[in-house]
Amino acid sequence: MDKVIGIDLGTTNSCVAIVENGVPTVIPNRGGYKTTPSMVAVTEAGKRLVGHIAKRQAITNAENTVYAAKRLIGRKWDSPQVKNAIATSSYRIVRGPHADVRIVLRDKEYSVSEVSGMVLQEMKIIAEDYLGESVSKAVITVPAYFNDNQRQATKDAGEIAGLDVIRIINEPTAAALSYGFGKNVERTIAVYDFGGGTFDISILEIGSSGVFKVIATAGDTFLGGEDVDARVIDWLVKGFKDEHNIDLRQDRMALQRLKDAAEKAKCELSSVRETEVNLPFIISSGRNEALHLQRSLDRATLDDLSSDLIERTVDICRQTLSDARLRKEDIAEVLLVGGMTRMPKIQLAVAEFFEREPCKGVHPDESVALGAAIQGSALVDDKQEMVLLDVTPHALGIMTQGGYFEELIPQNTTVPTQRAKIFTTGRDNQTAVKIVVMQGENERAQHNELLGEFILKGLKRASKGSVEIEVTFEINADGIVSVHAKDLETEKEQSIEVTASSGLTREEISHMMEGARDYMVERRSTEEFEAARQEAERVSAEIERLFPQVEQIVASSDFGRDAIEKARGIVAKTRTAIARRDAAAVKAELDGLARTHRMFKGVVAKTH
């Protein structure tokens, strides 16, 4: 049975999990962390950095470090979210050849799927290192509000990373799965997801048939834990300025240290009441000495600093319930997701608003990835019952006269599906109609996503309302949407096939996949060399340590002197191979080194 990993591709952090022996488990990265920053950077030397290492230089190399690429994935160049990202990002965002979005790092353009692909590739590597085998299948989570293009772009990112994305599922649904919901339970739950970069509130209706209906979702894609960090930074900067009249923001190195310290302090205050921010030699005083920053931050101060941000999330919750015409009493459970929900003040605010204690059983950073892993395991294991069914994330329909949106396939409909509706002409003697296919829930067409359009010509000249046109929407098992329009009297018909597009062509994706494979080969060969080098250096050092003793013991024998000369030769050859970074040569010397080491140890042991 193939192993399937579940990946929570987050705005600020990503997480990978797998079901092992029936137990969903989060896979830690090499540093031991269970989440990996969704950041990609390119150094001056052209080296690619992904994850924690990219985050640690995010401010000192701001122009070449991409963060929150998820806000851009699958978006069109002219969308308001892209304009917002351009205004707030430190890296360059440019228009792509298909009116899509590209990111410039060290003068090279990357598509957003390519950048997200680098993060996914890192998650794949983390899983492979942990499992000791290659992994190719994955379930990736996306926010419930993602449209088909954004979902397709996420799938493309997975493909670029060398993953077969067998399913894309909604983040709140994955969180609910990890909390054990979905089996023989029918209830309405709220998922309060406050992550590093975004806030989402989703109301799900869980049906016993395995359908998780997202009945309402809202949020703020520019509200997250980083805003809280920014408040702590402001507080530290102000305190320092008051004391020394120096603005720490003017120095990138100081700001990088402040950012790391602010995040650390924020996290610590979830478990302790007071913490110390200690940054020695933070900046030069201008009088030939470096100044230190040392301040205590307590939980009450952090609560004060972030109170309006927390209030904003509560306002969004209130509005979402109101839009969904739900009362607080209709919500059976509230799940907390996202690292920020570890903050006691947030837990209190959620409990106060929903008038119930939220579920805290699953680690908020890990629940989404765990849910994805559960779904992935169910998809490939015949013995397990299917947990989730594929549903349409958004309603599909056409634009009608007056700029209204007429829904044909409602949101959360299980696929495959087919729905038809009859429309009439809107003007006298109208001989053609334009079918504008859209996706979304807003009754005004302009607020929904345009998927495609076509014209049905040759209609019979008649008064308005007398020509009937049947429009049929069909979604097949692969998620491909076909729209047919047929003049019921003349039988003339026209159709269009809509496939979600990430803005990349097949050729572009193939080219990016090649690049990702090359990167993988290079990285693996470097790792192979590193492993061989470390072993070779360790044994060489041991041999060198034993040289004086062995020399003393065998000084009188020609045979012994020969052995020592040979040993010196092996160590020297090893060092040369290491200097040349020749992995094959280093590996070739390992056997000889091990034999020599055994022999030396034996000689020393016999004489003692």
């Binding site: 540093g31 150094t43 030397a45 080296k47 950095l49 290492i53 640690r56 230089q57 000192t60 190399n61 120095d251 990138r252 190195m253 100081a254 990088q256 240290r257 790391d260 200690n278 940054l279 020695p280 030699f281 933070i282 900046i283 030069s284 201008g286 030939n288 470096a290 100044l291 230190h292 040392q294 590193e530 080098r533």
Partner: protein, 264 residues
Amino acid sequence: MPYERPKQRVLPPALQGMDDHERPTQNPPFDPQAFARANAFSRPPIAGLPSARQDEDLSGRDRDEMRREEITLTDEVELERARMASMTGRETFRSPSTTGALSMANAAARSAPEVDLNQVSYSERELAGGFGAPEITQRIIEDPAAEMHERFALGDYSGALELAEIVLSEDEKNLDAAECSETCRSVLENMYAARVGPLIGVPVVVVPNAQVRWLSMDHRAGFVLSLIDGTSSLETILDLCGMSRLDALHILHDLVQQKIVVVK
């Protein structure tokens, strides 16, 4: 003006009660050099104590001579300082008129009217006196390009690099200076890298956290120190620090030399 004696220093709580031998070196809350100068040159001799030169009316130049004699040449930083100090006194390079001549300080001033020592490169600052008192040499250099070549030929790569940068600040298309700068950087980088150890090695801070603030270093070294987490290799730190490779290697080299960091 009589020098006011500094008040009794109060030790931080962490250090109180510690044996003198255990206590880390702590920067006093006053300028010890100024204190020493005041005691050595300004204050009247104390009766009954040996006084050899305090009574003498020493000129500034003589004092420089004295200081030069006191320098212990233990590492390259000090060698570099010594070299700069020795050059400062050389009259043979001094031009009778400064008109049309180019001094290192003037050259820097032309492209950056206000020289903030905290903004200049590590090596530049090192040349100007290192972490200690910054001194910008006032020696007049008639032909920086020629001197650049001369220093390069003598194996003084730091000096040649400094001059190459001055030439490039005047004429950024000067291929000769660009090539010299590149070669010097490469040589110096290799030199520091060789001294620090293999770049795949992992540096570890060996000074306890509580004592770090009592060390003597600048904020750039403080930043590099903050990147050392015991798991990242030297190569990784060079990638992360956002400084030029040469500056970063120089700082790492100094941290290792000062035994603040060991590479494993």
